[in-house]
Symmetry: none
DNA sequence: GTGGTCTAGACCACT
DNA sequence: GTGGTCTAGACCACA
């Protein structure tokens, strides 16, 4: 079970994103323990510190909490928090950027929707 | 006259993007000379090497060309080339990512269009 | 009945402090038995070893004593001992630190007294 | 030039506190560059990562900023920010705790002021 | 020159 | 068992 790491981004950020995705997709329930630092570091052949760094980011974002001597746990409400955070960023930052790009590239709204349709068909 | 550099991206890439935008928006016509490395580095308090690096990327992408002793110039067809390049990247990389994100965030097509409308009004 | 544990300090120290406070406030009289390790560990969902560790600290400080087969008891004179210990620490360690901090933050003696007054009113 | 590290606290936190104190005392002016990670790590025989960790905390608190390739710099307004932060914490957290302790230890306001006077004399 | 990242290996405190 | 911290040493991107 080997991960394909994307070399353009630090591993600890990719790890954090993976956990966030697991929470969003429900593979990691609220209140559930994150896989231990040691487990993850062994499984993916990573330095424990690298894993710790990813987990610490989750704690900083109040998505996970430490219980001393027991491990890290997904906090209650983490999923909603994530959804809201991402929507926020998307609507206030990414979407405006998208629109500017559409204008600059002279892509009409119709082309955009067509492309979305096509994508939807491809991915079922 | 200070630029707000985005610390999350190397300055030389931000510089390149600025020049590309100027070309796309017509502020820098084809055949026109780029501002000299020395000018830019003085104006924005940058290391000349940083500016050179940005310009070299434009040369590598065949968007600009060096004329010995005269400076750098926007090549003919640069604007179209840029448009095509960006459309390509947009349609093959960004759009699929956008769709995945929309799904994950439960943002419907209607919400997307509403947001686009709103943006359009804001930007006139 | 869940305690809010402060993650910045080991649980066994927090437990010890709680017991010490109970002694100081008279909620745990001298000669009285401490709640059993088993009781506490069940009530607060703690590892019994954690509770034992806290109790052992009290024994080490001669504030409690073990009676084989009967449990742990608050020793005679525990309250006075605690008072004296804490006064000692307060006057020799905390107070000097307080003064240094007041100076650094430019908080005058008047502001300090005002704040104390306000606190007193709040807490009745 | 060797620092006496306090073993009860991680070095990177002690380092952060040192820098904060330097800012508060004006030894490190706003806009000035922090001593480089390498310099500090060499001077105090520390791992560069340990120093980085301390500096990152300052960035997270918006007391310092990174300039890519140039180093870390004290941000404008850092000193005021620090003062305000510390006052806030002091007045809302430490002072109430102080009062509770005074009550518990039966230390009167007069004793407190006497002690403060004495301290002041000692430290000039 | 600057900071960022990672590995390997060790020791610690806590539950 | 858990996470936290540190060292030593290496490589990278950036200015």
């Amino acid at each position: 079970m080997q991960i394909q790491w994307d070399d353009s981004q630090p591993i600890y950020l990719q790890l954090r994103d993976r956990v966030q995705n697991m929470i969003l997709e429900g593979n990691l329930a609220e209140g559930e323990a994150l896989p231990s630092v040691r487990t993850v570091s062994a499984e993916y052949q990573l330095n424990p510190i690298t894993v710790s760094k990813a987990y610490q980011l989750l704690v900083d974002d109040q998505l996970a909490e430490k219980k001393r001597g027991l491990g890290m746990f997904v906090v209650d409400g983490a999923k909603d928090k994530l959804l809201q955070q991402e929507r926020e960023v998307f609507l206030t930052t990414e979407l405006p950027a998208l629109l500017r790009k559409l204008k600059r590239l002279n892509i009409t709204r119709e082309e955009l929707l067509d492309a979305l349709d096509k994508e939807e068909l491809d991915n079922g």
